[in-house]
C-alpha cells in the first residue's frame, strides 16, 4: 500500500477530486495548508508598494491506495493539477506499513 500526498493550487481541488473519483479512489483527506517551493513565495505590487508573500495558500491531499494503483493516481493528479505555471505543487509517494479500518478492525489491503 502507498500513501500518495499532493500539494496543489486551491482552485485545482475540484478537478483533482474528479480525476481521482474516475480512477475509483474511494476516500481522500484534504487540508488547507500554507507553503512555498522553489518560487519562495512571490512579490505583489499593491497600490505602489511592493510586499512579499512568504507562504501561499495551498491544498494538501492524502490518498491511500494499493501498490499497483499508485502510479496511475500520481499521473492523474499531475494531469489534473497542472497549469504549467510556477507554484503548481508536488506529488510524492510513501510506503505504508499498516492500515486499519477503525469501524471494522479490517487490516491491510482489506481496509482500503
Amino acid at each position: 500500500m502507498k500513501l500518495v500526498t499532493a500539494v496543489v493550487k486551491p482552485f485545482k481541488l475540484d478537478e483533482v477530486k474528479e480525476a481521482l473519483h474516475d480512477l475509483g479512489v474511494a476516500g481522500l483527506t484534504v487540508a488547507e495548508v500554507h507553503g512555498h517551493g522553489r518560487q519562495r513565495g512571490h512579490s505583489e505590487v499593491y497600490r505602489g508598494a511592493e510586499y512579499t508573500v512568504d507562504f501561499v495558500p495551498k491544498i494538501r491531499l492524502d490518498v491511500v491506495v494499493g501498490d499497483d494503483d499508485a502510479a496511475g493516481v500520481v499521473d492523474a493528479i499531475v494531469a489534473a493539477a497542472r497549469t504549467g505555471q510556477i507554484g503548481d505543487g508536488k506529488v510524492w509517494v510513501t510506503p505504508i506499513e499498516e492500515l486499519v479500518r477503525i469501524r471494522t478492525g479490517e487490516r491491510g489491503p482489506d481496509a482500503l
Binding site: P10, F11, E32, H34, E44, V45, Y46, R47, P57
Partner: protein
C-alpha cells in the same frame, strides 16, 4: 407493579424500565411513568422499616425523569445503627439495574448541614419529594431546608447567578445553536430550575405559565433524544434531529428546531428578567440622601436609571415612532439593558413607523447595528416583544430559522445579527459603513423564503430599501452586495487567481472600488459570524489576494462631485457679508473666507446642542460657504437668533469657544461601552491634485467635527473644502487641505503628526 418476581430486584427494575422506555408513552406521560416506576420499586425495596425515609430530589423530585436521567435519592434516618446495611440493600440492586444513581445517606440535620454549604445539594433538596418510609422525616427536611434557603437567599443567590452566567458562557445559547445542550445551554432546563429555586426563596415570583410550557417542550425533546440515541447526553446533535422530530410528530427536523428555539427564547428572556429583578432586590438600600434614583440623559427621550435604560418622563412613544429605535440604539451604545417596563411600553404603545422611514429612524437603526457585541442582547429583547418583526416584517421569515449543516453555528436570524456585530468592527475599512451594516443584516434574509437564498434576498431587498427610505443608488448597491456576497470566497478558493480573466470577472461583477471594499468587509463579517470552519487565515489570504488584484484593475475612487450650491446660497455668497440662513434642518453659513472658519462654525453648532449629520464646505469668490444638516441632540431646535449672534461673535474672536464647549460637554453622559472599531485616518492620494485629501473614519461623539477641524487648524493646515457625513453613528469625513504655504502635504513626518492630532481629536476629552 409490573415487576417480574422470578428475576433479581435489579433485573426486574431494568426490565420494567425498558418496557416503559420502548412503550408508547411520550412527553409528560413518559416522565411521570419513569418516576412512578422508581417510586414503586423503592417503596417495595424499603419495606416496612421504621425511622427511615426515601426522598427524591432534583429532577426525580420534580417527577421529570428522562430515560437517561440520574435517580437522585436521599435515604433519611433517625440515627439508626444498621443504616449502612439497609442502604446497601437498596443501592446494590439499583446499581445492578444499570440505573445511574446519585445517592446519600443522612440524618435530617446532616442533610440540612450539607445544603447550607453545598449549593448544588441545596438546589436539589429545595425540590425534595417523599417517596417511601416515614413521611415526617421528609416533612422535617423540606421545612428546614426551605427555611434555611429563605434565610440565606440574599447571600447565596449571587452564587446561583454566577453559575447561570458561567453556564451560558460555556454552553452558549440554546436558541441560536444548531447543536445546543438542552439542559446546560442558556435558555435550557437548568435555567428553569434556577428560576424555580429563586421562586422558592420568595425573592421572585414563580415562573409564568409560558415558561413552564416552554420547559415542558424542552423536556419532551430531551426525553426523545435520550430514547433515540440510547444515551444520557443532552446535546441535541445534528444526527438525532430527524429521529427526535419523528418521535414527537413534527413535520420535519426544521419544525422541531424552530419549536426548540422558540421555547429556549422564552426561557432565556424570562431568566434575564428575573435575575435583573433579583439583582435589584439584593442591592443595598439607598441612604436617605440618595433616595432619588440617579438619571442621566442618553438620547432624546431616553435616560439611564439604576443601570437600565428607561424613557424620559416627557417621552411619548405614541407620538414618537422613532423613540423605540433611539432607545434601543442608546441602550446598545451604553451597553445597558432596556428595562422591562420600557420594552413593554415601546412594544404596546409605539406609533406605527411612517413609510418610508424618516431619516432619524434610519440613523437610529444604523447606530444600533453599529454598536458591536452589545447589539445582541438589545436586538434579542426587541425581538422578544415583537418590535423587530413589526418594523421589518421580512424578519419573521428568518426568525428561529435553523440551518442544519456542519458549517453554520447559528440560526439564520442570529447569524445576521452576529454578522452585523462583526461588520461593526470593520466599519473603518469602508467609505460606507451604513451600507456595510445593512448588508450584513440582510445578506441572508432570502434564507427565509423559497428558492435560492441569494435570488430571494435580491428580490426582497427593494421592498426593504424602499421602506427604510434609502436612496435608489444605495438600494442598488445593497442589492449588488447581497447578490455577490459569496463571490469573493467562492472565486478565491475555486478559480485561478493568476488568470487575468478571473480578476476581470470579479471586477466586472463588482463594478467599483467602493463596492469591492464593502464586499470584502461583508465577506469577512459573514464568514466570522458563520462559524470557526468558515473562516481562517488560509481563506483570508486567498480572498485578500483576490481583492488586491481586483482593486488594481478597478479605476481609482471617483472624485467627489462638486458641492453644488443652489441659487439662494449663491445669492448669499454674492452679497459678500457674514450671514446665517436656516431652512428646516439645513444651516448655511456664508462668510468672507479666512482660515479656521470650519471649526468655529462646528463649535457654535455643538454649543447649541446640535448634532451635525452632514456638512460640506466650499468657497465661492473668496466667500466661504458651509452647509450643515443638523438635528437637535435633545428635544427641539435651538433659538436661531442666539446661534446667529454666536456665529458673528466667534467670527471676530473665538477665544472663549473651547472653554464654553468643555463646560457643555460635562453635562453629557459618558459612553460606557467600548467602541466597536478604533478611529482611522486615511490619506487618499488619488482623490485630488490641487489639495491633499485626508479622510477620518470614526465613531460619532459630541463635538467631533469641532475637535477634528480644530486639530487641522492646530497642525497649520487650511481646509479648502470638506465633505462630512454621519452614517448612523459612524462618521466619514474627508478634508481637502493644503499647508499654510498652499502646498500639498506629503512629508511623512508631518503626516504622522497630523494623524496623531486627528486620532486624539476622535476621543472625547476626559
Amino acid at each position: 407493579m409490573n415487576v417480574d418476581p422470578t428475576r433479581s430486584d435489579g433485573e426486574s427494575l431494568r426490565a420494567a424500565r425498558d418496557g416503559v422506555v420502548s412503550g408508547p408513552l411520550r412527553r409528560a406521560e413518559l416522565r411521570a411513568a419513569l418516576s412512578d416506576l422508581a417510586d414503586e420499586w423503592l417503596t417495595d425495596q424499603l419495606g416496612a422499616e421504621a425511622d427511615v425515609a426515601l426522598v427524591a430530589v432534583g429532577g426525580y423530585g420534580r417527577r421529570e425523569l428522562a430515560p437517561g436521567s440520574d435517580l437522585d435519592v436521599v435515604l433519611l434516618h433517625r440515627g439508626r445503627a444498621d443504616i449502612k446495611e439497609l442502604a446497601d440493600r437498596i443501592w446494590y440492586p439499583l446499581w445492578d439495574s444499570g440505573v445511574k444513581l446519585d445517592h446519600s445517606v443522612r440524618t435530617v440535620d446532616e442533610a440540612v448541614g450539607v445544603a447550607r454549604t453545598d449549593l448544588k445539594a441545596m438546589l436539589g433538596m429545595v425540590e425534595a419529594r417523599h417517596v417511601a418510609g416515614d413521611p415526617e422525616l421528609t416533612t422535617a427536611l423540606r421545612s428546614q431546608v426551605l427555611e434555611s434557603w429563605r434565610r440565606d437567599a440574599r447571600k447565596r443567590l449571587p452564587d446561583v447567578l454566577a453559575a447561570v452566567t458561567e453556564r451560558a458562557e460555556k454552553y452558549g445559547e440554546l436558541a441560536f445553536l444548531l447543536e445546543p445542550d438542552l439542559k446546560e445551554s442558556r435558555g435550557g432546563l437548568r435555567d428553569v430550575h434556577a428560576m424555580a429555586a429563586v421562586a422558592a426563596s420568595w425573592i421572585a415570583d414563580a415562573p409564568a405559565a409560558e415558561v413552564r410550557g416552554a420547559a415542558a417542550r424542552l423536556m419532551d425533546v430531551r426525553g426523545e433524544l435520550h430514547r433515540c440515541s440510547s444515551r444520557s447526553g443532552d446535546r441535541l446533535v445534528l444526527q438525532e434531529h430527524g429521529a427526535v422530530a419523528k418521535a414527537l410528530d413534527y413535520n420535519d427536523a426544521d419544525a422541531l428546531m424552530r419549536d426548540v428555539y422558540d421555547a429556549a427564547r422564552t426561557v432565556a428572556f424570562a431568566t434575564d428578567e428575573m435575575w435583573r429583578r433579583v439583582e435589584g432586590a439584593l442591592r443595598p438600600p439607598r441612604r436617605w440622601r440618595q433616595r432619588q434614583p440617579t438619571r442621566r440623559p442618553l438620547a432624546d427621550g431616553v435616560v439611564e436609571q439604576d443601570g437600565e435604560v428607561v424613557l424620559a418622563r416627557d417621552a411619548d412613544p405614541a407620538h414618537d415612532p422613532v423613540l423605540v429605535l433611539r432607545a434601543a440604539a442608546a441602550a446598545a451604545q451604553a451597553a445597558l439593558p432596556l428595562s422591562r417596563h420600557t420594552l413593554d411600553r415601546l412594544a404596546e404603545h409605539s406609533a406605527p413607523m411612517p413609510e418610508p422611514w424618516p431619516a432619524a429612524a434610519r440613523d437610529a437603526l444604523l447606530a444600533l447595528l453599529g454598536s458591536g457585541p452589545d447589539l445582541v442582547p438589545v436586538w434579542e429583547a426587541l425581538d422578544q416583544v415583537g418590535v423587530v418583526v413589526r418594523l421589518l416584517p421580512e424578519w419573521a421569515a428568518v426568525r428561529c430559522h435553523p440551518q442544519r449543516n456542519a458549517i453554520h453555528r447559528f440560526t439564520v436570524d442570529r447569524h445576521l445579527v452576529e454578522a452585523a456585530v462583526e461588520a461593526a468592527a470593520l466599519t473603518r475599512r469602508v467609505r460606507r459603513p451604513d451600507l456595510l451594516l445593512l448588508g450584513a443584516l440582510f445578506h441572508d434574509i432570502g434564507k427565509g423564503f423559497p428558492g435560492d437564498h441569494t435570488d430571494a434576498g435580491v428580490a426582497v431587498l427593494p421592498t426593504i430599501g424602499a421602506r427604510l427610505g434609502l436612496p435608489a443608488a444605495d438600494v442598488d448597491l445593497l442589492v449588488t452586495l447581497v447578490r455577490q456576497h459569496l463571490l469573493l470566497p467562492d472565486t478565491a478558493t475555486r478559480r485561478d487567481l493568476d488568470d487575468p480573466a478571473t480578476v476581470r470577472l470579479v471586477a466586472d461583477a463588482v463594478g467599483d472600488r467602493t463596492t469591492l471594499e464593502l464586499l470584502h468587509a461583508l465577506t469577512i463579517a459573514d464568514a466570522r459570524a458563520t462559524g470557526p470552519a468558515a473562516w481562517g487565515e488560509w481563506k483570508a489570504r486567498l480572498v485578500d489576494d483576490l481583492v488586491a488584484r481586483a482593486t488594481a484593475v478597478l479605476a481609482g475612487a471617483p472624485p467627489p462631485a462638486d458641492g453644488l450650491l443652489d441659487e439662494t446660497q449663491l445669492d448669499l455668497a454674492r452679497a459678500g457679508v457674514l450671514d446665517v440662513q436656516v431652512t428646516g434642518d439645513r444651516v448655511t453659513v456664508v462668510a468672507p473666507d479666512r482660515p479656521g472658519l470650519l471649526w468655529r462654525w462646528a463649535g457654535v453648532l455643538a454649543l447649541h446642542r446640535l448634532q451635525i449629520r452632514s456638512a460640506t464646505a466650499t468657497s465661492v469668490d473668496r466667500m466661504a460657504v458651509t452647509v450643515f444638516d443638523v438635528s437637535p441632540r435633545f428635544g427641539s431646535m435651538p433659538d436661531w437668533s442666539a446661534v446667529r449672534a454666536d456665529v458673528r461673535r466667534m467670527y471676530d474672536d473665538a477665544s472663549s469657544l473651547a472653554a464654553s464647549l468643555a463646560e457643555r460637554d460635562r453635562a453629557y453622559a459618558r459612553a460606557s461601552a467600548l467602541e466597536p472599531a478604533p478611529p482611522r485616518v486615511i490619506w487618499a492620494d488619488d482623490a485630488s491634485e490641487s489639495s491633499t485629501v485626508v479622510e477620518v473614519r470614526a465613531h460619532d461623539s459630541v463635538g467631533l467635527l469641532y475637535r477634528l477641524t480644530a486639530a487641522l487648524a492646530e497642525a497649520g493646515l487650511d481646509v479648502q473644502s470638506a465633505r462630512m457625513s454621519t452614517l448612523g453613528a459612524e462618521v466619514v469625513d474627508a478634508f481637502y487641505v493644503v499647508g499654510d504655504d498652499g502646498a500639498l502635504v506629503v512629508d511623512p513626518l508631518q503626516r504622522q503628526h497630523i494623524e496623531e492630532l486627528l486620532l486624539t481629536a476622535c476621543r472625547r476629552p476626559a
